[in-house]
Amino acid sequence: MAIYSFWIFDRHLGNCIFDREWTLKSNQSSGTTNSKLNEDTAKLLYGMVFSLRSISQKLSGEGSHNEIRTISTGKYRAHILCTASGLWFVLLSDLKQEDLSHVLRYLYSEIYVKTVVHNWFSPVDFAESDSEKRGQGFRKIRNRNFLASVERFLGPMVN
């Protein structure tokens, strides 16, 4: 079992509010990273999901829900959970993981909801002004409980 990275995009599509990559050695201690590299990866990943999602929805016709769940490539698989409120949870794993939707759902309902949504000291909208929307945002989830829970839950699955 191998999970490579975990990303959350907020409702201002393209704003990455959380990223955690386990394959980069230098980030192991910090938990989050703001490196330029990750920022670019986030944009690319977001773009890929966004495009495939629009296309698949168009193909399925008007009026029916058709959310994209996984995207497989030759080297990795992306697992995606899009909530009705516009949040995207994305996990990148190796090809052996057929379906991680239960993991994503747990991350959403047990970790994100409990440590971010129910925590009044943490914002739920990370864009503080209009200029920070549409992918221009830079604020991340910094909540200790959230970071610790993600680490505790996903850590054992990394390798």
Partner: protein, 202 residues
């Protein structure tokens, strides 16, 4: 995911009955519960404190309750979606059913009646036969004309619906506490907001 697909297929089969079972099931089996009276008392203490803070200017109290509700709504929607895994609704009719049979049921264990649809189907009313916020409450005379005691609910709905891209106005039309025949909340859909589109796509 199973809940997700179940609810989708159910909604096409006949949303009324199945949404009710769906909501009841979540309430019964997947919801931690707390004494409703503590909830009632806590809310009462909040309203009473606001009335003191605003020197019994009930218009201000109404809007403050609404603002509090909004803050709650934008968060509550995530909790709701996480628990139900429901997709966005196709129609306002479906939304009204989800609000009454799932949302109110899961959070407050009541199921308001939906009714009073406007002619062009862009507004409906929720009739609260039971309201856990206002059990045992009687308004003082000066408040009975202006205060919407449960106004926090309007804010909650407004905030929650906005997060699923529905721009709605929500307000109280009537309240038994003010001597009305029923407690009626009105929800009017102004427009469905477009999801933001990333830079370069438009």
């Amino acid at each position: 995911m199973s809940a997700n697909s179940a609810s989708i297929s159910a909604s096409s089969a006949g949303p009324k009955k199945s949404l009710k079972t769906f909501g009841d099931d979540i309430w019964k089996n997947k919801t931690a519960k707390i004494n409703a009276e503590l909830f009632t008392l806590t809310y009462g203490s909040i309203v009473s404190q606001l009335c003191t803070d605003f020197e019994r200017d009930f218009k201000k109290v109404n809007s403050q309750l609404y603002a509090m509700g909004y803050n709650i709504g934008v968060r509550l929607i995530e909790d709701f979606l996480a628990r139900t895994a429901l997709p966005r609704c196709d129609s306002l009719a479906q939304t009204s059913e989800v609000i009454s049979k799932c949302a109110f049921k899961i959070f407050l264990n009541v199921t308001p009646q939906v009714g009073n649809w406007s002619n062009n189907k862009d507004a409906f009313s929720l009739f609260l036969d039971e309201n856990p916020l206002s059990d045992f409450v009687e308004l003082p005379m000066d408040a009975a004309k202006e205060l919407w005691y449960s106004n926090i609910l309007c804010g909650v709905l407004r905030g929650a619906l906005e997060m699923v891209q529905m721009d709605c106005d929500v307000w109280f039309v009537n309240d038994v506490l003010r001597g009305g025949q029923s407690t009626e909340m009105r929800v009017k859909l102004n427009r469905i907001m477009k999801d933001e589109i990333p830079a370069g796509e438009d």
